[in-house]
Symmetry: C2
Subunit: 306 residues, 2 copies
Amino acid sequence: MWTDTEMTRRLGIPYPIIQGPFGGGLSSARLLAAVSEAGGLGSFGANNLSADKITQVIDEIRTLTDKPFAINLSIPIEDSERLAINADVIKEVTTLLAPYYNQLGVQFPAVPDRFGQDFDAQMDAILAARPPVFSFVFGIPRTDVLQACRDRGILTCGTATTVDEAVAIDAAGVDFVVASGFEAGGHRGSFLKPAEESLMGTFALVPQVVRRVSIPVIAAGGIADGHGIAAAFALGAKAVQIGTAFLACDESGTEALHRERLFSARAGDTVLSRVFSGRLARGIRNEFIDEMRAHEVQLPQYPVQN
Amino acid sequence: MWTDTEMTRRLGIPYPIIQGPFGGGLSSARLLAAVSEAGGLGSFGANNLSADKITQVIDEIRTLTDKPFAINLSIPIEDSERLAINADVIKEVTTLLAPYYNQLGVQFPAVPDRFGQDFDAQMDAILAARPPVFSFVFGIPRTDVLQACRDRGILTCGTATTVDEAVAIDAAGVDFVVASGFEAGGHRGSFLKPAEESLMGTFALVPQVVRRVSIPVIAAGGIADGHGIAAAFALGAKAVQIGTAFLACDESGTEALHRERLFSARAGDTVLSRVFSGRLARGIRNEFIDEMRAHEVQLPQYPVQN
């Protein structure tokens, strides 16, 4: 029975359906709680939150549900070179972006002292709050972080966009792996090779990952209904992660206009681009993407561009 | 029962498995016959063959099997501008390619009077020989061609890489449509928008096509075993088209070295590129692709580059 799998037993949820974690303020405690109360695993993308804010969000979640849920973080890029704040690059991208800020009447942000949150502080908050599941993208946490999760009974879940990444996640002793195909919305989670060289479709990725890892595989990318869930199981997945479809929910952090654009978007209207955040991500094609594409190579890396 | 579908009944084959047609000399009458004799639908990619040669091949096929089979052609690009032989472009690409011909000790080909075969002559040969199925890529045949097929009891099958292409194929009165996802090997069959803007994964493409067309949908792209077939059916496909996996067969036109590279290739080792033929195609990543990528925009269109 598909609702009684190793995944549902270990996670303590009736249905092997995981809500994909959203960044950019689209995650909400209400959506997470609605999914978990309905028998799936709600997730919250906390990457842009400080440690204090993470503690608050987990407290809020626990007022809304006593069911299992996941908190998701981004693994920082180890190569600090890529994050070096290059004054020339910043100046260049400021010139490129200024017209868009002007058009929208939004003030251009000041260049901060650092880009992104302090991962160790975020992680301390998570370890203290002990959510049932800690999930992550863009890499694999250090051994001591994974051990600290295990010591506290926190299940771990990594994201792979290639077979090699899935094998690395399995070898690190992570509990579950999301095999995230080319179709997936939002950021590509690639970390071993450039995202542009890690573009495998869900149909090709899932069965290859299933054959190569010992841990349960969660299929992600292009799954939005029961047909997709059945297909993912046929390919050997033990659960599915559904992201974009949950943005249709009132409980998500989407605005009405965003929902309208997402769910009236015609097939093929999404593209992969790094113009928004500096990392390759799938989003609805728009003027900004089309116009900035010519400058894609000169844009700073994530999270600077973000 | 998955072996008794509208597809298998109409095609008169026991299993709804279609062998993908190969170009570049990889198709063979032996492989086609082996697939058809085993209960699938063998296909032969005849695009690079003259009308006479097509007649010969179909005769040869009929000495090997009396089971149903398909002959596949490319629909020529209507916009003759794109095919204009531009002397400057030819000179430029000759300079770029010369080192590879030298390295391999192969003589550089003379520039022909025309690129590609005469489609109308090819089509006349097919109409005269009446293969059970005529399949095509890169577009939709003219109304009179489709009508001539219908008049002769030849079933027709088009290839779509987007929902819009599938809808256009359905509207033209074609009998079946292949929904060919991003994962598929070889050429992308895109014809309404540039192939680079028509990159939908099988998992996303198939169910959207199924919802939008009235004719049976054949799933293609990343399918290589029973798991994939079951998944494709879960997504609403009525048959599958499997290409690359059949290149493992001794009966295919592959050399031993090619088979070794194909089936020892590690996951992720394939890429989409237009450097070989001028059209976007998925192949094994190699030095030539990596080196020529920088010149991709200046290469002539298919079939000139081919």
